[in-house]
Symmetry: D2
C-alpha cells in the first residue's frame, strides 16, 4: 500500500482526498496535518468520515511526512513552497494542489499572488499535472503542480481544437461558473449561504489568478501552430449557488473547416476521465458530482464558424483532489482509475 | 383607476403582474382569466395573495375583457394572436408578454415556433415594448409586444456600444443564465427540483427561440452604423438553480477607442430602470430580485479591446411583467415607475 | 414624516428595515449607524438599495439620534442596553430588535447570554412588542422589546389554544426550522454556503436562548388558566438551506373538546398580520417571503386529541423588522399596516 | 457474481440501485426494465452512468428476469404485487422497494392506498427488510418488503427506547423532513424547482401513508412491553428544498430513569449502518448523502423526562436502495456492507 500524507487536510480539497482515498485499493492515508486542528480526529470535523477515517490531525512534521511515499499539499498558496524542498530531499513524492508551482515564470507568479516565491529553484522540476497533456512527464515526476479547477476545464475544452490548429488562438473566450466550494472553507461574509444562495454573479472580470496559468497551458498545447501559439484569452469566472461543479462555456472562431464532433471524440477516445457527449447533448454539473470525470459537448450554432464547447467537471475532484490522485496513480504505475471509479452522485 | 385584465394569470408572469399591480396606485386588476382554473380564487393558487387579491379566475370572454382599459396576455405563444384582434376592436389596449408579436417577419416566427401565425395582419402595428429604445412609439401604441427575458438583457447590454458604433457587430457573444421560473409553471420532469437543484447546464446551444428576436432588436439599434447593422450573434442560454434572475455576460470587440464606463453612464443616466454600476463592480441577480431594475457593469479585461458587459435583471419583472407595467405606465401617461418602486428583496 | 434612526444597519435586520421603510408613506430613515462601515454609502453594501436609499453609515452619536422620533436597534445583544438610556432621556422612542429587553428576569437573561445586563433598571419599562398580545401596552410604550423570530411563531401558534385553556401547557413541543439569515451576517464557517446548502440539521437541541423568552410569553398568555399557566416546553430549532423564513410545527394535547379551526379563525379574524388558512391547508414559508404576514394552519391528525399547529413567518419581517415597524405604527397612531402591505415574493 | 434485475429502473431509487451496484464486488446488474423507455440506454437517461452501465431498458419479461438471482422492484406501489408471484415461482428472490408488502393487514393497506391488493396470499411470506430488527428473518427470506424512507428513520430512532421499555409508547411524535427526491421522478407542478426551492412546508399533516407502516413496526418492537406495545404516534412530514436526505426529530416521554446516550450506543454498537453520535452532537443530512449510514443523536433537553432523538439518513440509500442491497447481502451471505462502504459526499 502506498502511504499518503496530506498537509492541510481541513479544507475542502483535503476532505475530498480523504473521501476518495478511503476507497483506493492501493493507497492509505497515514498522516494528516493541520496546525489549527492538532489532535482533533478528522471525523470530528467531517462526520461523513466517521467510522471510515480514524486519523487525527497532527502538526506538520517533515520526519513524520518522510515516512510517506507521497505527500499531498491541500493548502492555500504559499505553504507548499516553504515545505516541499525538505520533503523532496527525503525521497518523497509531492503532489501540490495549490498554485505554488503551476506557473513557470516566477515573476509572473509573484505579480498575481502578491508575495515573493520562496522556492524558485524548484519550479523547473515541477511537472504540470494534467494527464491528458502531460502523462509521460508525470510518470517520472517528483513534484506535481496539480492544475487549478478553472484551468483544467478550459484546457480540456480547447485542447482538441488547438492541437488541430483549427481555431484562432488570439480570440478565445472562457465563460466559467463554479460552485461555492471553490472558494474554500474560510470564514467570510461573501460566501455565506445568505449571500450566495438564490443568486448568481460574475467576479474578477478584470482579471483572475487562474488567467496566467490557463494562458501558459494553452500556449504549451498550441506551440508550433500556424500562429505560433499566441494566446489571447478572455476569462470571466462566475459564482454558482451550488456545492460542487464547474461549467465552462468556451467560444472560438474556426479557421478551417473541421468536423468538431469527430475531432473531440477521436482525441479523447482513450482518455479514462474525459467523456465526449453525443452531438446535441448538454452536460450538467451534477453528472460529474463527486466524480473525476470531465464531460464535454461541442457545438457550431447555426452551422457557422463559431465553435462553442461546454465542459463540466467537479471542481474538487477532476478540478483538484481527483486529478491529484490520478497523477499519483500514474506516478506509481497503478491503474490510472484506481480509487476513481465511483459514478457521480445523481440526483 | 386604470382597469386591467389579465389573460392566463395562472403562470409565473401572471402572478407577478398581480403582485406588482397590487401596489400600483393608479391601476387595479378587474378580470383574470384561466380556462383550467375557472371559478377558483387566485389566492387559493397563490397564497401570497391571500387578503390582497380577491378575484377568482374566469373563462376568457371578450365582452368582459372589453370593460378593461388594458389587457395583458401572460399566456404561452399562440394564444394572444387568436384573441387580440377582438380586444383591440373594442378599443382596449393590449400588452402581450408572449412571443406572438415580437418578430416582424412572420415567416421567421413560424419557422422558430413551428406553427402558423394566425394574426399576421396585426404584426405591423405591434410596438416592441423596450422603453429604453422605443419610448415614443410605446406612448401611442395599441398593441405592445413585450420583449423576452433574455432579449431584454442582451439588448440593454449591447445598446450603448451599438449606438456608439464602437464594436464589431458581426461577432457578438451573449452567454446568459436564467433562473428556473423562466421555464414556466408546467408539469415537467426536466424542471423538477430534483433535476435542477445543485446543478447547472447550458441548453439550446444550437439555437434558441429568442435568438431571432435579439438579432432583430440589435439590428434596429445598429441600423445606420458603419457596418450597416449586420448582426452576427452567438447566444448560449444556461439554466440556474435559482428562482428568479437572469445574468447575461456579453463579449464584443471594440472597433474604436472609447471610455466604456462613461459611455454606459451617459446613455442610461435618465433611464429609471437601468442602473450602471461603478467601475469594477459585479452585479448580482439578487440585487434585482422582484424589482424592475436592470443593473449593468462594463469591463475591458486587461485593458484590451475585448469589452465584457455584465447584465442582471429579474426575468419575471424587467424581463416580463414589470416591463409590461412600465409600458402600461407610458401608454397611459402615468409616472413611468408607478407601482415599480419597491426595492429588490435581499437577502 | 416620522424620522427614523437605525443603529447597526449593516446586518440583515437592518437592511430589512431600510427595505421596508423605503416604501413607508409616513416615515423616513434619517440616520443609519455602523462603527465598522462609517462613511460608506449603504447602497454600496446593499446594492438593492441603489437609487433608493442615499444615506451613508455614521458612527453612532446620541445627539444625532436625538433628532429622530424613533430609533431602532438592529444590533447583536448587549449593544442596545448600553445606549438606550441616553436616547430615551432625549424623548426618543426606542424599538429594540435584539434580545436585550425581552426577558423580565435579568438574572435569567444573564445566565443565558453569559454577560452582565448593564441596564437592569430599564427592563421593567420595556414593553414586549407582540401586537397580537400587547397592542394596548405598545401604544404608550417608550421602549419596545421586539420579540425574537422563533418566539413570535411559537407564541402566535399556541396563543388561541392557551387563551381557550384547552391544551395541557405542561407538555408543549415546538419544532422550528429557520432560514440561514437568522444566523446573521457575520463571517463564520458554520453558515457558509458550502456548509449549509443541500443539507439540514437541528442545533441547540439541549437548549436555545429563545427558550426562556418563549416560556415567559406563553406563561403570560396562560396566566389564570386552570393549571395556573405552568409552562413546560420542548423547543428544538433546525437550520434550513433557505434565505428567509421560519416554519414552526407545534404539538400539544387537548384537554377539552374544541373546534380548533373555528377557535383560530375567531381569535385572529381582526388581526392584520395573522392569516388562518382554510382547514387542510399547509402554509409554505415562501408564501410570506418578504411579508409581515404570519400564516397558520391547525390540524387534529386522525381526529385525536393531539393538536398540530403549523406556523410560517419571514424571520426578518414578522420575526424582526416588520414587527418592529408594526409596533412603530401602533405607537405613532398610524394605520398598523403602513409600509407593510406588499405581497410576499412568490415564486 | 450475483445476477441482479431491476424492474422500474427509471426512477430515483432505480438509478440509486444502479449507482450502488456499479461498485458492488459480488453483484452485477444484468436486466433493467422500463416499459416507457424500452430500448433506451440507461446512460442516456442518467449521464452519471455513462461508461459505467452499458445496459438498455427492456420491457419487463418474467423469463428474462428468471435468469437473475434477485430482482429489485423500484416501482410505484401496485406494480410489484402484480408480478412477484411469477418471479418467486421461478426461484428468484425478490426485494420490493415499494409499499406493496410492508403492511401485514391487507385491508389496512387497501384503505390507505385506495386500490385492491392483488397478491394478498403473498403478504404473509414477505419479510420486513429492516436489518436492525429482522436480520435473522431476512437471511431466509424469498420476498423482502423494504421499509419506507420515513419509517426507517422513525423506527431506528425509537428502537432502543422501545426495546428498553422506557418511554410512553402512547404519546410518540415524529417530526420528519425529506428531500424532494422522495417525491419521485414524475412530471408534477408541485415539485418543480420553482415551487420548492427557497421554501419549506409540512404536508399530509392529517395523515400520511407511511403512518400505518411505522405504527406496525413500532408495535412489533414494543410487543411484550409493560403497556403491551400500544402505539400512538403523531407523524408530520415536511418537504425540504434539498435533493436527498431525511431528518427526523422524535419526541417521547421517559417512563423510567435511563442513560439514553449509553442505551443508544450499546444497542447499535454492532450495527454497521447505525452511527450514534457523541453526546451533544447534531447530525446533518449531508453527513449521509449518498451513504447507507444512519446517524443518530439523543438529547434530554434541560435534563427533563422528554427525550429528543435526531435521526438522519439518505432517503434514497438507507431509506430505499441501500437498505435493499443490505438485505441482498444478508440473504446471499455476503459481507453486509458489500458495495456500501463509500463515505458520504461532503460538501
Amino acid at each position: 500500500m502506498i502511504k499518503v500524507g496530506i498537509v492541510g487536510a481541513t479544507g475542502y480539497t483535503g476532505v475530498e482526498l480523504l473521501r476518495l482515498l478511503a476507497g483506493h485499493p492501493q493507497a492509505e492515508v497515514t498522516v494528516i496535518t493541520s496546525r489549527s486542528e492538532k489532535g482533533r480526529p478528522v471525523a470530528d470535523l467531517y462526520p461523513n468520515l466517521r467510522g471510515i477515517v480514524d486519523l487525527a490531525f497532527s502538526t506538520p512534521d517533515v520526519d513524520e511526512l518522510a515516512n510517506c511515499d507521497v505527500v499531498f499539499f491541500a493548502t492555500p498558496h504559499g505553504v507548499a513552497q516553504s515545505m516541499v524542498a525538505d520533503i523532496l530531499a527525503r525521497g518523497v513524492k509531492v503532489i501540490d494542489l495549490s498554485a505554488d508551482f503551476r506557473i513557470r515564470d516566477a515573476d509572473l507568479w509573484e505579480s498575481w499572488y502578491g508575495q515573493p516565491h520562496s522556492a524558485r529553484d524548484l519550479i523547473p522540476q515541477a511537472v504540470y499535472g494534467l494527464p491528458e497533456v502531460n502523462r509521460e512527464a508525470i510518470k517520472g515526476a517528483n513534484l506535481i503542480a496539480c492544475p487549478g479547477c478553472y484551468p483544467t476545464s478550459v484546457q480540456l475544452g480547447f485542447l482538441p481544437l488547438l492541437e488541430a490548429d483549427c481555431i484562432d488562438s488570439t480570440d478565445l473566450i472562457a465563460n466559467s461558473a463554479s460552485g461555492v466550494s471553490g472558494a474554500g472553507r474560510q470564514a467570510s461574509i461573501g460566501t455565506l449561504h445568505s449571500e450566495m444562495s438564490d443568486s448568481f454573479k460574475a467576479y474578477a472580470a478584470s482579471g483572475h489568478r487562474h488567467q496566467p496559468e490557463i494562458v501558459q497551458g494553452l500556449g504549451d498545447i498550441a506551440a508550433g501552430n500556424s500562429d505560433a501559439g499566441e494566446i489571447n484569452l478572455t476569462f470571466v469566472p462566475h459564482l454558482l449557488p451550488i456545492n460542487r461543479g464547474i461549467h465552462t462555456t468556451l467560444y472560438a472562431n474556426l479557421t478551417k473547416e473541421v468536423d468538431v464532433q469527430a475531432l473531440f471524440e477521436q482525441r479523447y477516445q482513450d482518455e479514462p476521465f474525459v467523456d465526449v457527449l453525443p452531438a446535441g447533448s448538454h452536460p450538467e454539473t451534477r453528472s460529474v458530482r463527486g466524480s473525476n470525470m470531465c464531460r464535454i459537448a461541442v457545438f457550431r450554432p447555426g452551422g457557422g464558424n463559431k465553435v462553442v464547447v461546454l465542459v463540466v467537471e467537479d471542481n474538487l475532484t477532476k478540478g483538484a483532489s481527483g486529478q491529484g490522485i490520478q497523477c499519483m496513480n500514474i506516478i506509481f504505475g497503478l491503474p490510472e482509475n484506481s480509487g476513481l471509479t465511483a459514478p457521480a452522485l445523481l440526483p
